[in-house]
């Protein structure tokens, strides 16, 4: 009998091929007769497209040229609402909006062709910021430029404010962030003989692309096939955008009657594809003398860009997480996603939560200062405990791990001692006293600070989202007696290939190496839903575990045996060793025909959600986390270093600690960039720093020492007790680092990213905090 693999730090099954260069990404595929495609985009943020002019003197032979007029079906990228066209038809609503497409065999000719096309446009006034969008400086969406408004209400806010000891206010802002997967967006469309369009590329959600192409081409299910190629990272950036790129390749391929490939270079990818929504979050909090949160009044604004894409769901998650993991019986949350004339913002790891969690955590620090309560103590008093209910009224069970992660992080990070030593500043350095940036904070040039954030993150789609998704996943037994996983869930570097094999293997009592993964090809695998929302391991993993149990039972029954359950062994494990299984399963298939076990999502019993009122059980489970960040700030240049971050996460059963640690560290580092350096600079709605030399992500040299602790509080409805964890790590670093800087310098931080320039301005402009 083989030992269980869930809980073992197995290396990624896809790792070797990737680091040795053997893995074939979309640009590595050689497709005979393939043309290169390219996109002609608008440079103005808003305007009327009058004419597309092709230079008559140019030799256009061998070119394929596509405009909106060539679209056989509907000119939309089908997702939530049909507002976004595949190609501009009349009105340009953002810079970098695709207008027309060109393809040619030769890339040099293609470049020349691009230069022979001119767009003639009449510019219109543009709304480039949330404020301008709200003020309707331009008409972009509906009557008021609001993509979606959500209200969450609980208790009696007004009464709570009346009885408050103090009312604390704050407004917090966050900026755009780019996902920055290593592999840029790329796709190949191949028109097949029978009229089917095959699309292969770098993507997270094969069935999103499938749905979009059917509408665009006006064809049925079997006329479109979508295949994921090895994908070099996604982080949400390949959730909805690949539908756009697939549409472009398919239109060119259809017209040319030949395969067409488009791979963006970094500049185009940065300038044109989706980013994290910028936000403005205003908090008013009524608190008691002891720091209890009596009432919370929260207003959330997010910049959706020019089309709706996924903004309503990003907003929804942001709104639900806006009150943080804290108990408050009276609250009112109003959240709006606003249209602006900028490229649409979309999915990005965290999906609205990092923005609102930054705001609520900074607000808590503000309350702590106002009441002179230690920030940890304030959190202790308010953190959600079993039996408490969240903003939407979801009553938490023993899975409420907030107190656990908080105490564990305080203990492991040495919070009290370190915080005290940083706060007690060194005696002023006489040489610099005269030049110290502010009186009263004078001390050594390098100031150190410690900051903490507490956060939770719901795993899976919100509310009844998972029910609507109706995900299916299958296990097939092959003739050679091995097991094949059939899902549309994609490997994007997070490690699902490995964790799925561990889950299924353990359920069957087999080593993970005996479990294979069928290609992510919509003509072969069922729709297990998108690979997003920290749902793959927890939701799809559970469906697979159920399918594996079915498989095991059926096989045992066929073999005329009953599962023997030795004491102390995991009850679900099979009675065979791998060789026996292989022989048995192979005989089974050969004698009784192909075996496929399909299961679909089962909603955990008792879950309720009222979409209209935004009340009920928003998520099946929450992951919980604390970050303790240490910073060093140069008090003269305001340059910031983060030498150490303690990361404590509770994620249910840890299926694979090695991969989980990778997720924890990678996500935290992405959060460090969000906190300190990543800033999109736009000039008239166009990105001006669309290069890796000036869009600044942390390098290895900027990476803190991570001290990661993974705790598990098993989730009954997850596979072997696992919860989702992909997004959780990104929620914490922004507020923890900001809090550490507040601690180091005695300023109030209200905006990310915290660049040295912003910090200097904050110090000069504002009085030191209370």
């Amino acid at each position: 009998m083989i030992a269980p693999s869930v809980g073992l730090p197995l290396p990624r099954t896809d790792g070797f091929d990737k680091v040795t260069g053997r893995a074939a990404y979309v640009d590595d595929l050689r497709v005979p007769g393939c043309l290169h495609g390219a996109t002609i985009r608008s440079t103005i943020p808003h305007g009327r497209l009058r004419r597309i002019r092709r230079d008559p003197a140019f030799d256009w032979s061998g070119f394929t040229f596509v405009t909106a007029a060539d679209i056989p079906g509907q000119n939309v990228i089908a997702l939530i609402t049909d507002d976004q066209p595949a190609l501009v038809d009349g009105i340009i609503r953002h810079a970098e909006e695709p207008v027309c497409l060109l393809a040619h065999r030769d890339r040099e000719r293609l470049l020349a062709g691009l230069r022979a096309v001119t767009l003639e446009c009449d510019p219109l006034p543009a709304a480039l910021t949330i404020r301008e969008g709200l003020a309707r400086k331009a008409k972009i969406y509906g009557r008021d430029n609001i993509f979606k408004e959500i209200r969450i209400r609980k208790g009696e806010v007004r009464t709570a404010f009346r009885g408050a000891h103090r009312i604390v206010e704050g407004t917090f802002r966050t900026g755009l962030q780019e996902q920055l997967y290593i592999e840029t967006n790329g796709m190949i469309a191949i028109p097949e003989r029978g009229g089917r369009m095959s699309v292969l590329g770098s993507l997270q959600c094969p069935y999103y692309v499938h749905k979009a192409l059917k509408r665009l081409l006006g064809v049925g299910d079997d006329r479109v096939r979508v295949v994921q190629t090895t994908t070099g990272g996604g982080f949400g950036g390949k959730e909805e955008y690949p539908s756009m790129l697939a549409a472009h390749c398919a239109l060119l391929a259809r017209k040319a009657g030949k395969p067409v490939k488009i791979v963006y270079d970094r500049l185009e990818d940065l300038a044109a594809t989706t980013k994290r929504h910028p936000s403005v979050v205003r908090h008013r909090t009524a608190v008691s003398r002891e720091g209890r949160l009596l009432g919370m009044d929260i207003d959330v604004l997010m910049d959706g860009g020019a089309y709706l894409t996924l903004s309503p769901v990003v907003l929804s998650r942001g709104a639900i997480h806006a009150a943080g993991p804290y108990r408050c019986e009276n609250l009112a949350i109003r959240a709006r996603a606003v249209a602006t004339n900028t490229p649409p913002n979309g999915a990005f790891r965290g999906f609205g939560a990092p923005q609102t969690i930054f705001a609520v955590e900074m607000q808590l620090n503000r309350i702590a200062r106002a009441l002179r309560i230690d920030p940890v103590e304030l959190r202790r008093r308010n953190v959600l405990r079993p039996g408490d209910s969240t903003a939407t009224g979801q009553v938490l069970d023993a899975g409420a791990s907030g107190p656990l992660v908080l105490e564990e992080a305080v203990r492991r990070s040495g919070w009290s001692v370190r915080r005290a030593s940083f706060t007690k500043r060194a005696p002023p350095d006489p040489e610099r006293a005269s030049k110290a940036p502010r009186k009263g904070t004078a001390s050594g040039r390098i100031r150190r600070g410690l900051g903490l954030s507490l956060f939770y993150h719901g795993a899976g789609f919100t509310g009844i989202g998972e029910v609507y998704l109706d995900s299916h996943a299958s296990l097939a037994v092959t003739r050679d007696g091995s097991v094949e996983i059939h899902t549309a869930s994609t490997e994007i570097g997070q490690g699902m290939r490995t964790t799925f094999a561990q889950i299924v293997g353990d359920e069957l009592g087999l080593p993970p190496s005996m479990v294979r993964l069928a290609p992510q090809d919509t003509s072969l695998v069922p729709n297990s839903g998108p690979t997003v929302a920290s749902r793959t391991c927890m939701i799809v993993g559970k469906i697979l575990a159920n399918a594996a149990a079915d498989l095991r039972d059926a096989l045992v029954q066929w073999a005329g045996d009953s599962p023997r359950r030795a004491p102390g062994r995991r009850a679900t494990r099979g009675p065979w060793n791998p060789q026996q299984f292989r022989r048995l399963a192979s005989a089974w298939v050969r004698k009784t025909g192909p075996k496929v076990f399909t299961r679909k999502y089962d909603r955990p019993p008792g879950m309720k959600w009222d979409e209209k009122e935004y009340r009920g059980d928003a998520y099946g489970a929450f992951g919980w986390g604390v970050n303790v960040a240490e910073v060093e700030v140069d008090a003269e240049t305001f340059e910031i270093r983060v030498p150490r971050v303690d990361v404590v996460l509770e994620i249910g059963t840890v299926v694979n600690p090695l991969l989980a640690q990778g997720q924890a560290e990678g996500g935290t580092l992405q959060g460090v960039g969000y906190a300190l350096t990543e800033e999109v600079v736009r000039k008239n709605g166009r990105m001006a720093n669309a290069q890796l030399t000036n869009y600044i992500i942390p390098t290895t040299a900027d990476t803190p020492e991570f001290r990661t602790t993974l705790l598990s509080n098993a989730y009954r409805h997850g596979p072997f007790g696992a919860k989702g964890m992909g997004e959780l790590p990104l929620d914490g670093p922004g507020p923890a680092i900001a809090a550490a800087i507040e601690n180091a310098l005695g300023v109030s931080i209200v905006e990310l990213p915290i660049t040295p320039e912003r910090l200097a301005k904050a110090i000069r402009a504002r009085p030191a905090h209370e």
Binding site: S42, I44, V99, L114, C121, Y264, K435, T637, A688, A760
Partner: protein, 337 residues
């Protein structure tokens, strides 16, 4: 009102060129003269090739210096004056124990350039002749075309300073301010002769014609001054600990009589098309022991000549303010406290 604009992208590719690989300095100089103004030499290519992809330069002929004999390596002694071949890679310099011990300023400048991978390819000569940089220029062809280009390349307006007659793209070489400060000399060879100039004479305050070197001249040797009681250092402002070009560089040099400064030079990089000398600041140090007051006074004086414009990362005001702090840091290095 009518406007037009389009932005088309396809993977950036190198323009077409002919590649020549001379074996000797004379051959290289001759090839360069023969091929005329559409030719360019290439060393490590880490600056030139990206520029070609963005169509800043589209040389018809490239003369690769990799195989030219006698252009690589460090020779001589520190006391007699080290001589460095321009094809010496930045990594080789970084690993050279003599350079590190005798010229810590140069070593720091070299060590701060981009990343280990780029330093493996990039050379000292290429760094000295590095193209000037600007946010409106370091963009691909399509991006630049959408703004109707700019004066430095294909256009006629300067978007940073629309009234300006000269381009203000910034000198972004890390070694340039340091080599100017220590008084290094550069050996130039062409088909018609050779000459030696001081490092600071190489640079011109014009972002387009930023080198006084003629296009047909090759840089063949960098001569460091003999070490005899002077110290040098380099400080660099950037966002990250790796990758980033300087948005401010400070090269500082001082010779001493015991603890007393005999002579000093400070050059600021990345604030103008050429390294800028902060002469008054340096002069104010003469006769001091680099005591805190003297350092503070000199840093204040260095603030004047730094006139960054809004064409790199970081806010302009910030870069200017940081001049003080960074000059101070550099002078503290020299004091050796």
């Amino acid at each position: 009102m009518a406007g037009s604009g389009e932005n088309k992208t396809a993977m950036m590719r190198l323009s077409k060129f002919k590649y020549l690989a001379p074996r000797s300095v004379n051959d290289a100089a001759k090839m360069l003269a023969d091929a005329g103004p559409t030719a360019s030499v290439v060393a490590g290519g880490t600056d030139l090739y990206p520029n070609m992809k963005r169509r800043h330069q589209t040389p018809k002929t490239l003369i690769g210096l990799r195989r030219v004999e006698g252009m690589r390596g460090v020779s001589g002694t520190p006391e007699g004056g080290l001589r460095i071949g321009p094809m010496t890679t930045l990594t080789a310099l970084e690993r050279n124990a003599t350079v590190k011990a005798a010229h810590p300023g140069l070593w720091k400048a070299v060590h701060s350039i981009s990343t280990p991978i780029l330093r493996n390819m990039g050379t000292l000569g290429g760094n000295i002749c590095l193209d000037t940089r600007c946010n409106y220029y370091d963009q691909n062809y399509e991006w630049r075309r959408a703004i109707n280009f700019c004066m430095k390349c294909d256009g006629d307006t300067c978007w940073v300073a629309p009234g300006s007659k000269v381009c203000l793209a910034v000198s972004s070489s890390d070694t340039a301010p340091l080599l100017c400060a220590i008084g290094a000399r550069l050996h130039l060879v062409s088909a018609t002769g050779e000459r030696e100039i001081a490092a600071h004479e190489l640079y011109r305050r014009d972002g387009i014609h930023f080198l006084s070197k003629r296009p047909d001249e090759l840089l063949t040797e960098i001569v460091l001054p003999a070490t005899n009681g002077w110290r040098s250092t380099y400080r660099k402002l950037r966002r990250r600990e790796a990758f980033d070009f300087p948005v401010l560089g400070v090269g500082a040099w001082a010779s001493f009589d015991g603890p007393v400064v005999k002579e000093a030079r400070i050059f600021l990089g990345a604030v103008s098309p050429a390294p800028v000398e902060a002469a008054e600041a340096a002069k104010s140090l003469v006769g001091t022991r680099l005591e805190p007051d003297a350092v503070a006074r000199a840093s204040d004086l260095a603030y004047g000549p730094a006139k960054p414009v809004d064409n790199t990362d970081f806010l302009t005001r910030w870069r200017k303010e940081m001049t003080k702090v960074y000059v101070k840091g550099a002078l503290e290095d020299l004091r050796g406290s």
